[in-house]
């Protein structure tokens, strides 16, 4: 079984400032890692994913995340945020074992509030 901890429930940030959302996971097996964004009254949209190879993953809307196996972390970053980045962000982990169903386990979410 795996678990995900998002260390910050809310992150206020000023427009054009950088932001980092922290995510740590635990798992006894190799994993896939994902970041999703959820805008108000919407479903979740995939921002980026780590599946193998490069540890620095680039996603949509200028976001990137770095996989750190030794620290079991997958922090999300953006160098300059916009008002439109105000949303809820979810980190998620899935084991690589097809027999286990590849179910996603989500973190508790981090609410990003971008201020003008």
């Amino acid at each position: 079984a795996q678990s995900v901890t998002q260390l910050d429930s809310q992150v206020p940030v000023f427009e054009e400032a950088p932001v980092e959302l922290r995510c740590n996971y635990s798992s006894s097996v190799s994993v896939y890692l994902f970041w999703y964004v959820q805008y108000p009254n919407q479903g979740l949209q995939l921002l980026l994913k780590y599946t193998s190879a490069a540890t620095l993953v680039k996603g949509i809307n200028g976001f990137e995340a770095e996989f750190n196996k030794s620290q079991t972390s997958f922090h999300l970053r953006k160098p300059s945020v916009h008002i439109s980045d105000t949303a809820e962000y979810f980190c998620a982990v899935s084991d690589r074992d097809k027999a286990a169903g590849n179910k996603l386990t989500f973190g508790g979410g981090t609410r990003v509030l971008v201020k003008p």
């Binding site: 896939y32 919407q42 479903g43």
Partner: protein, 112 residues
């Protein structure tokens, strides 16, 4: 453009009513999932399916039931709705382990 569709988007119903939340996807994905999400809270898996005639309960106990008669269709049913069922219900599908989930826009259910 969404490839997974949920209807209705919003639903307000009275206690004791039977309801079915619809979820359809056009991507041919075998794996489909239902999550329950309270406002501002994390997502909890309540049901999933690996294919036609396959359904399993998720990590969070739910009084709802699901069916999977066709690959593209994964409806969720509440036989007798209660105020405690008030929540957002998100449907998702997946091609394979490394692909992540594609989510529908959700159904926000309010039971009065």
């Amino acid at each position: 453009e969404a490839d997974i569709y949920q209807t209705p988007r919003y639903l307000v119903i009275g206690t004791g009513k039977k309801i079915t939340l619809e979820c359809s996807q056009t991507m041919g994905h075998d794996k489909m999932y239902w999550y329950q999400q309270d406002p501002g809270m994390e997502l909890h898996l309540i049901h999933y399916s690996y294919g036609v005639n396959s359904t399993e309960k998720g990590d969070l106990s739910s009084e709802s039931t699901v069916s999977r008669i066709r690959t593209e269709h994964f409806p969720l049913t509440l036989e007798s709705a209660r105020p405690s069922h008030t929540s957002q219900y998100l449907c998702a599908s997946r091609a394979g382990g490394g692909y992540g989930y594609t989510f529908g826009s959700g159904t926000r259910l309010t039971v009065v």
